[in-house]
């Protein structure tokens, strides 16, 4: 099923927002292929009537009451930022 070529590696890298060079893509393709081919052994198992299990937590989803208990900590959230100005995070210009 899997056939990861250089183009697919580049596409996945773009989706992942990781820049890869052509050389890196060439090295990654067989590695990723190897892993995917290996995981495809799952196809041996009949799972037609099996419900997926996304979590093993045996509890129901907890909910909190609607109170303002947090926030107002601009210093904390900006403390580690590479670039800020007047309380904003600053990033290279986004063109829409």
């Amino acid at each position: 099923m899997s056939a990861i070529d250089i183009e697919t590696v580049k596409k996945v890298a773009r989706l992942s927002r990781i820049r890869v060079t052509d050389e890196e893509a060439e090295k990654l393709a067989p590695e990723l292929n190897g892993i995917l081919t290996w995981v495809e052994q799952l196809g041996e198992v009949d799972t037609d009537n099996v419900e997926p299990l996304p979590s093993s937590a045996e509890i129901t989803l907890p909910q909190r009451t609607d109170l303002q208990t947090d926030g107002d900590c601009q210093d904390d959230i900006l403390a580690n930022a590479p670039e800020t100005l007047e309380g904003f995070y600053v990033v290279p210009k986004v063109v829409e």
């Binding site: 099923m1 990861i4 697919t8 590696v9 996945v12 890298a13 773009r14 989706l15 992942s16 927002r17 990781i18 820049r19 890869v20 990654l28 590695e31 990723l32 190897g34 892993i35 995917l36 290996w38 995981v39 495809e40 052994q41 799952l42 196809g43 041996e44 198992v45 799972t47 099996v50 419900e51 997926p52 299990l53 996304p54 979590s55 093993s56 937590a57 045996e58 509890i59 989803l61 907890p62 909190r64 900590c73 210093d75 904390d76 959230i77 403390a79 580690n80 930022a81 590479p82 670039e83 995070y89 990033v91 290279p92 210009k93 986004v94 063109v95």
Partner: protein, 497 residues
């Protein structure tokens, strides 16, 4: 005075209570040992001044009769737990220099109970690995040596390799670990210490850098079962800030260590006797079975039929979750930013993440992205979650016949740094005995049970029912006594010599 670093936590607490020594002395002894063991590279960040300050406060509390259950005990914290005011890196370049303004619930619980933090221990980058060779801050070295290859530096296992190495080398009395597919148990086995991954939901994940959220679970690593029980009592507990944290009371794990295992049914899964299993591992397992049988436990053959599919299912689920969990490292709000003149936002993302993440992390992000992407989601991700249910069902069925399952922890002893790296898959096989337990959310521990022909520690794994850490700790303590594992790693025997 005897070398204080050789004491167990329980012994040290007695010594502190009896005023044989102070926490400052105990902490200083560890700080000195850390200086001597720098070459192990177990810590990313050492915090000796902070440790001594905490030790002083601890001594004061103890003199006022206000000591907590771990008061004055110097511990190491895996560098995946966010620590208020202390750099937290996940061993990644992308988080280098990140100083949280908050304390993770688990490390906060330890501090609440009086623990002293010596520093932050190294790990495989973002906890992805089984060798601690993927850290941006360099390989961690196992304090043990292969007596037939004394020049080779060995891996401590991973991902909690720094914690395991530090506890084994006596440069921390105990340490926190996290375990997503075996990351506490496998390094515990490689370094000859004890480590427990509790039931999913027992310890809060709040403030722990996430790898695979549905699998990640924090746990203690120490040199005895009793020490692990003590630490777990402190670390565990319901946390409303983590929606997967279970609202369960935490039992007094040390009180449950009665050594009475008579009549307990010990399951031996036939599927774990894998092809090509080394004779040594097989022998160790047989020895473990014999010890428990001798103590009056009943040995039951069980079957966990989907065992062989656990590892491939894990390598879909964990990367899928990781690809999303690691999206927040984008150079905007914290950590590394790589941005050249004229770069747009996407350039910045791509360069930051290309430079900030190591090869293994990139591989897993890309695998995870691929298996979640349009057209592949059902074939990979949903399929793996279905297999996950079958694996969990296997355990439910098995626990109708037994109370505890005994298996080896890892398929091998510690290997040399640089080995098993030619192909990512070879490395993944290290977790072959441990991942199912994460997929099913069960508690599991590793206990050192013997030495290999090469003089290296080997661990046995005990797996319990959900929320029944108490029973595996009890059985583990029996193995601990029977194995009488007193061997010391090279670094300590050399020093003693």
């Amino acid at each position: 005075m005897t070398d204080l670093t050789h004491l167990t936590i329980t012994e040290a607490l007695n010594g502190l209570e009896n005023k044989d020594f102070t926490s400052v002395e105990l902490t200083q002894a560890h700080i000195d040992a850390m200086a001597d063991a720098k070459h192990l590279n177990a810590y990313v960040t050492e915090t000796p001044e902070r440790a001594l300050e905490q030790a002083q406060q601890s001594d004061k509390r103890r003199s006022e009769g206000k000591a907590g259950i771990l008061d004055g005990i110097p511990l190491a914290i895996k560098d995946l737990f966010c620590t208020d005011g202390v750099q937290t890196t996940a061993s990644s370049h992308i988080l280098e220099g990140f100083v949280p303004t908050y304390e993770s619930t688990v490390s906060g619980n330890l501090l609440r109970d009086g623990a002293v933090m010596l520093g932050k221990t190294s790990l495989d980058e973002f906890a992805m690995g089984s060798s601690n060779t993927t850290s941006y801050f360099g390989d961690v070295i196992n304090p043990w040596k292969n007596k037939n290859r004394p020049d080779a530096n060995l891996v401590p296992g991973g991902s909690s390799g720094g914690s395991a190495s530090a506890v084994a080398a006596r440069i921390a009395m105990g340490a926190t670990g996290t375990d997503t597919g075996g990351s506490i148990r496998q390094p515990a086995s490689f370094c000859g210490i004890t480590g427990i991954k509790p039931t999913y939901g027992r310890c809060s994940r709040w403030g722990v850098v996430a790898f695979a959220s549905s699998l990640d679970q924090a746990g203690p690593m120490a040199r005895t079962i009793e020490d692990c029980a003590l630490m777990l009592k402190s670390m565990a507990g319901h946390d409303p800030k983590d929606s997967t944290s279970a609202p369960k009371d935490v039992p007094d794990f040390t009180a449950g260590l009665t050594d009475d295992i008579k009549g307990l049914r010990i399951g031996i899964p036939k599927e774990y006797r894998m092809e090509g299993m080394s004779e040594e591992i097989d022998k160790l397992w047989e020895q473990g079975i014999a010890w428990l049988k001798d103590a009056g436990a009943e040995i039951v053959d069980i079957s966990l039929p989907h065992t062989k599919y656990a590892l491939p299912a894990y390598y879909i689920i964990a990367p899928a979750e990781a690809s999303s969990n690691l999206a927040r490292y984008d150079g905007v709000r914290y950590g590394l930013r790589v941005c050249d003149d004229g770069d747009n936002l996407i350039d910045m993302y791509e360069k930051t993440r290309a430079e900030g993440f190591g090869d293994e992390v990139k591989r897993r992000i890309m695998i995870g992205t691929y298996v979640l992407s349009a057209g592949y989601y059902d074939a990979y991700y949903v399929k793996a979650q279905k297999i996950r249910r079958l694996i969990a069902q296997d355990f439910t069925n098995a626990y109708e016949q037994c109370d505890v399952i005994l298996t080896p922890t890892a398929p091998s002893e510690a290997f040399a740094i640089g080995e098993n790296e030619e192909d990512p898959l070879t490395m993944y096989l290290n977790d072959v005995y441990t991942v199912s337990i994460n997929l099913a959310g069960l508690p599991g521990l590793s206990i050192p049970a013997g030495l290999s022909k090469n003089g290296l520690p080997l661990g046995l794994q005990l797996v319990g029912k959900s929320w029944d850490e108490a029973t595996i700790l009890k059985v583990g303590q029996h193995i601990e006594k029977a194995a009488n594992f007193t061997a010391l790693p090279a670094i300590r025997t050399q020093k003693a010599a």
